[in-house]
Amino acid sequence: MSKVTLSQIRHVNSEQFSLQIDHLVVEEGEIVCLLGPSGCGKSTTLRLAAGLERPSSGEVQIGNQIVASKTKFIGAEERRVGWCFRIMRYSRI
């Protein structure tokens, strides 16, 4: 597991949801729990870290590699980040 750093993040998504993170560091091996009311940006923070959304400005770093910045963006498919989603059961028809 690598260190994850989000710095000077300003993010506005397509639904005009805005998020601001000045500095968030998750050290290697550290377990962090994000708590907050609905709509405060917990999931968006994770999506920014995983590469499912590109921040409007700021920088995301995983290990020693910058994965999102003003000029660079590595998508989720290349970041090798694991995510356990909640997916409801579905039927085929």
Partner: protein
């Protein structure tokens, strides 16, 4: 409720206009006749079928697309499956049952469709429904039984397949009709 004349007005006027324009152009400048390319072939009939049955199939397909949540696509992306591969490995497997159901429903409806087929079919083109209608109109009821029973048999097989597929998709009812 649409009536057959509407198909004529909606489809044949623009098709006929295009055919006439193209034909007069090729006659005048290229020296040969194209004939009725759209209004005299199966193209017009196919267009009528698409317009008539699009709503039925679209409803079924849209319902299946609603089952695909954003989290499914995100999970796929995180695991490195994007674009066409996501379509093939996530969307189509989830939607395959509904796509098949839409296909079978439209197939059965097209099989027994009569008004548009009667009006827009090319000369000499007959479907089972047209054949049964013509024979029944001539009071040749015994002969009309053949195409009629063929419609019933061809229509009932997809219904059995669909019922089995629906049964299999429900837990605790494997393979039961």
């Amino acid at each position: 409720m649409p009536y057959p004349g509407q198909f004529w007005r909606l489809d044949h006027d623009p098709f006929g206009y295009f055919d006439n324009a193209l034909d007069s152009f090729t006659r005048n400048y290229l020296g040969f006749s194209t004939g009725l390319l759209l209004s005299g072939t199966l193209a017009a009939l196919m267009f009528a079928y698409v317009v008539r049955f699009l709503a039925i199939s679209l409803g079924t397909v849209e319902a299946s697309m609603e089952k695909i949540t954003p989290n499914m696509e995100r999970a796929s992306t995180v695991m490195g499956v994007t674009g066409i591969r996501m379509l093939a490995r996530v969307h189509i497997p989830i939607m395959s049952g509904s796509l098949m159901a839409a296909l079978l429903i439209v197939f059965v409806d097209v099989l027994k469709e009569l008004p548009a087929t009667l009006i827009m079919r090319p000369f000499g083109f007959e479907t089972l429904a047209v054949r049964a209608y013509e024979l029944a109109s001539d009071e040749r009821l015994a002969e009309a039984a053949g195409p009629s029973i063929a419609i019933v048999l061809a229509g009932i097989v997809p219904v059995i397949i669909l019922s089995r597929a629906i049964s299999r998709s429900r837990p605790g009812q494997k393979g039961q009709v």
